[in-house]
């Protein structure tokens, strides 16, 4: 029999982690019941399907009332309508802001406008994540971005205080916000093979080394790159002039570690490699170059290496010797230049290694 009213309300808001997860995942209430049924809730508890359905509906009603508050997590603690115990509150927020890498990967580099929100069904199809969940993730990212975009200070810290997210999740959002702020090109076809964790990794290392150093000043902002540093990178051009010396040092160092074939190949192609790497550094101060950083890395570095089928280890060895040998050269005696080279190469090494899926 269909009940007109069937509600269960408790003084402390009850959150069932399982049902909540289903809700967050964007299941409709009937889908949730089916899912629970498949997981054997009925066998475990001896409840009827009808009871499970009524329970799910109760939870869904509560969650939909809560959703508005979840958009502003600090309000959740302050509001009086629901009495939620702190640990439950944490669970609510954490799960609501949790995201799928695959979905966010699709959103990277796109404008977070309502026009794109409509296109989410493609994302949903591609990622096999329910449309509702995609929308939630889209909205979350957009909301977080809007709030912290123009805020001073560490972006991760800002996200943590404004959305009460745990460190790890806040970092992930931080990376998304950072990528969006710089407007890195991420959606070109050649970049499609990169996953969100790849970008997360790269963004993390860029944020760690290339942004302004946290010197306690209120203007400190880690979503902006250090302009001076980028300009300083131009000076690395000198390495191209000393290419021979550099090549010599690198080849000497790598010879014992490389196969003969690879060594030959390195020997003949070093020029183009170093041109790619140093050239990139010299042009980073142009924002167009900066935006297409990942594309450049793929097109000018990774693709040639892949063609000659370097192993991951080969790449690591090459990059580390390439970096080390440059330091040994006289041209990098100057402390500032040396410092720039270090800053540049740590990030580039880390990114390349991550992006080289081999």
């Amino acid at each position: 029999m269909f009940a007109d009213v069937d509600v269960f309300i408790s003084n402390y808001t009850l959150v069932d982690p399982e049902v909540y997860q289903l809700w967050v995942d964007g299941c409709s209430s009937s889908e949730a019941v089916t899912a629970l049924n498949q997981r054997g809730v009925i066998q475990q508890t001896g409840a009827t399907l009808e009871l499970v359905a009524s329970d799910v509906l109760d939870h869904y009603r509560t969650y939909s009332l809560l959703e508005r508050l979840l958009h502003n997590p600090p309000k959740l603690a302050e509001q009086l309508a629901f009495q939620i115990e702190p640990q439950t509150r944490r669970l609510l927020i954490e799960k609501y802001y949790e995201f799928d890498g695959a979905v966010i990967r699709e959103l990277l580099g796109k404008k977070l406008s309502s026009r794109h929100r409509k296109d989410l069904d493609e994302v949903s199809e591609k990622t096999c994540v329910l449309l509702k969940s995609c929308r939630r993730q889209f909205d979350n990212v957009k909301r977080v971005f809007k709030v912290v975009e123009d805020m001073q200070g560490s972006v991760v810290q800002n996200i943590k205080t404004n959305f009460l997210l745990p460190e790890e999740l806040a970092r992930r959002y931080g990376a998304v916000v950072f990528i969006a702020c710089i407007k890195f090109e991420t959606s070109k076809k050649k970049l499609q093979y990169l996953t969100f964790p790849d970008f997360y990794h790269c963004a993390q290392s860029i944020m760690a080394s290339w942004t302004y150093v946290d010197n306690g000043s209120p203007e400190y902002d880690d979503t902006e790159l250090d302009r001076e540093f980028l300009l300083d990178l131009r000076e690395l051009r000198i390495l191209l002039d000393k290419e021979k010396e550099h090549k010599h040092l690198v080849c000497q160092k790598l010879k014992p570690q490389l196969l003969e074939r690879s060594y030959q190949e390195l020997d003949s192609n070093f020029r183009s490699y170093t041109r790619a790497l140093v050239g990139l550094a010299c042009n980073l101060h142009r924002s167009r170059e900066l935006r297409s950083l990942f594309l450049e890395l793929v097109e000018r570095c990774l693709e040639p290496w892949r063609q000659v089928s370097w192993s991951h280890t080969d790449l690591r060895n090459f990059l580390s010797s390439y970096y080390q040998c440059a330091l040994e050269m006289d041209v990098l005696r100057e402390a500032d230049l040396k410092n720039s080279w270090e800053r540049y190469m740590t990030v580039i090494t880390s990114c390349l290694l991550r992006m080289y899926h081999a």
């Binding site: 007109d4 069937d6 309300i9």
Partner: protein, 1064 residues
Amino acid sequence: MPGKVKVKILAGRNLPVMDRSSDTTDAYVEVKLGNTTYKTDVCRKSLNPQWNSEWYRYEVDDSELQDEPLQIRLMDHDTYSANDAIGKVYLDLNPLLLPASPAPVKSSWNSENTTTTSTSLKGGSVMSGWIPVFDTMHGIRGEVNIIVKVELFSDFNKFRQSSCGVQFFCSPVIPQGYHAQVVHGFVEELVVNDDPEYQWIDKIRTPRASNEARQTLFFKLSGEVQRKIGLKALDLGGNAVIGYNQCFDLEGESGIVVRGIGTAVTLTKIQEISVQPPLPFDITAIDDRQQQQQQQQLFSGGEEERQLTGSPQQARPVSSTSSKISPSPAKLSNLPAIHRRSSDSDLSITPKGSYMKRNSLTGSDRSSVMGGHLRQGPAVVRPSMNQESLDMMEYPFLTMSKYPPGFIMHLGGTVSSRSVKLLERITNLEEPETRDAWWTEIRMEVRSHARALGCNVVLGYSENTSICDDVCVLSASGTAAVINLQFSTNVEQDTSGQHLVSRVHMHNKELMTTSLDRTDFEREKTTPQKGDFTLPFMQGSKVRHLSDGYELDPVSTCSVCHIPYSECSVPFRVTMLKCAICRRGKVPDVLFTTIELPEGVSTTGKGCFLQAYVCRPKRDCRGELNAKEISDGLPFLEYELHRLLINKLKVKGMNSIFGLKVQVSIGEKMLVGLATGTAVYLTPLPMPPVPKVSADNTWADDKKLTEIQKLLQDTVKKNREVYQLKPLIELEFQSNGRIPASDTEESDDELPDLDLATGNKDTCVLEVDDAEDVDVISLLIDPHPPEGFYVVNTETVPGLDDQEIVKNLQMFTQVWRAKIPTGQPTSVFSKHFHRLLQSVYFKLRRMVPCALCDLQFGVELPEPDELQISVLGMALGLGEPERPSSKLKKKTVVSSTSKEAIKKADECELIFNLDEDHVAPENPAAAPLQVQLGCPRPHSPLRIKIPQSKPHHTPPRERYGVDMTPLSYVPGGKIERYLGNLNFFFIRESTCIREGGGLSGFVHSFVTEVLAIVRAHVTALGGNAMVAYFMSECVLYHNPHKNQGQCLINVGGDVVYVSYYSED
């Protein structure tokens, strides 16, 4: 005499957008009390306005203060059109009119808690905080931060109209931390008014205006009733009303009736005694002499030793009293130390055997026992209630459901009365004579029923109505009982009697245990003692038993169950048997009561929830015909309900019901009766027989019949196992249904009467004549709650011996409503009740082990073919009992059979009373343990499942937010202060039901909002919990065609401040 009210509006937050064009609001506030209104400035373009207004002052008469709510209305300023209402806050000023309670004395174990909160709680007359702004059309719309102060000039004018300072408690018990000096008796009041919803003006005003007019009126009427009841309490000499219950009868066209009933008492606060040793070694440090002095102080001061109460073994717990002991570790608080001391001092007075130390009962207590027997000296039972006042009282009714031990002497049984009335428009609002006359009629009937049972009072008294169109059924019910009357409170210590009396106690104990153990050894041991000391008394008591019902009975554990009336004088046939414990008193074969299980009554096994539901179709007619139809149907309904209840009880294998609530609802096409209660096996009462199935000749299928019989038998057997009723049954069976082995000569010859075979056979025969009857039998068999759930409708779970209620988990409300096709058998309906319970189990499945207490069902027939059921209950976490030794534990349960337990009965066992279900008795090492109890276990306070063999809950160290509970206690915590009672009537209407998630969504959000508002008020008053929470009315109108719905909810309870055990 005036009082001064000062109001300051600080700020608002989260206000709704009222101006769509600019997405903001220009909010201001109107503050209204009586006819005076103040306005704040307009705070432009802000959803979080800061008004920080001046103090608005009102000088009002104190009676007005009691009647009028402070109304705070948030408005949106509009330059060109009329200002729009955002929402309203109603503040009941009554809690602020209470006398400021003295600063709480910090006791060692909660000092931290006290200090942290006491700053925010100076005086009782300030209320401040964020309160949700409620609009009847939109629900909660933001919050407003306010401060309200009340300064009251006391008025001692004899003819005053106000009753400020009379404290009201919804809790149906003597409040924790208080001691009832005198129970004055029943107070009631009733006011009537037109319902604004039905006035002509309603046709031209907006729904919002109409709803608000109603809400305001409900508030005023509620205040008026409470004020008038307070006046009556003052007239009686009381200073408080407990067990206060207020109802709104929405009679539709004929108006609104607001009724209040309660019990007037004189309460005194038990001082948190400073002599309490904060540290364990204090006790040892105090020498006997000192202790004695302290003891004298204690008792001369009229303070009571709370710990003395509640011992199942205490014969005459005269020190009865006061605070009901919370069935939680809290009760252990500080008292054992005192206890100990007093007993020591006893020792110093009279040399006695070690275990007679239970004479820790006070001096006055002793003499009371004497007095009782000799019928000369005054019997002392506090809370006192004297014969005189009882006679004077128009209605000897008490509305509490729980009484101090020793207060109740005998229970007669449930008495109730119903009356069907035709409603007419109330013409003269000032003189609500008709309604008064109706209730008078009913009360008189209840009174006469009680008298017919030889009882002097009605306990656990309640009144209800059910209205359908213009017909109203009024019901009143309670438990007829004989209570202990008192003539004076202070009696000199009778040292001469002491010696003897102490033996009486001892004897009682032995007697009780023997009856349980039934071992020859024990019997031999007790008999000489009895001969020596108690026989003189016993003989006296034997004579008086039936002739003169107001005497004290020495055996407390069973005397409560003895019938108070003479066998031949009752106007109905009852089966009476000898008491299974003392073999002297007569007991009925079943006992139904509306009260909680009194402490100290011996029970076997566990209690369980019992429910019977009867539905009776009726013709759909109007007016007088309708009234007649209902009136004709009611007796059948009640009979059916009773029969079902009795049979279900038997199937459960139990013999009594406590907390019985019978609700009759009338609808257009149906009459519905719902009875809920907690079934208990009272040890003194005989074991119920297994119902027999019989059929007349027309029923051919013998096989089927035996099947049914077998099913019944199996069920009874299963139930006995589940509820641990087994040991006694085995004994019973061994002796062929006879209660085995007599223990005294006197009762020996009367034993044949106990043969159950001859007694009441006809009552346990179920006739099966057709398929419908078979159906009925299947109704008798209720499914058991799942593992880990204990379900009752009383405040504690009787007989829960291996576990203990340690914390509050969840208060829950359930509302269910569906269309019911007419003409279906009752079984279909009871399915719905089961389903509701099932869904509670399912929802709370992660909280086991848990007890569901105070389960309240409400059933309504809002439409001809619709049934609405609401459930309110409390889930309580069960944990390990505190004591390390299981031996001690066993003794708390009456069914303790080991004789070594008795032998090993060391002094502490006798001193520390063992509350039947929950008290963790002290160890011999009382002092160190006490501290240990005060400090929390090493577990985390959070609900963490500890990986042990069995999951269990641990007591809380603090509680987040505001705890709401329908119970009158907070397990694991102690109620430090009562901050007043609240009673709200909310109305919510919506014209977009479909968009808001249907009717379910509408009700869901409304109930959530109501709880939020109540919590905010509790917090603003400085409380952190609400006890005795109720939701008495939940009326829902629905008009699907207009996509419109309206819901009315009446909630309330006592605001309290609870402290939990702190770390040290």
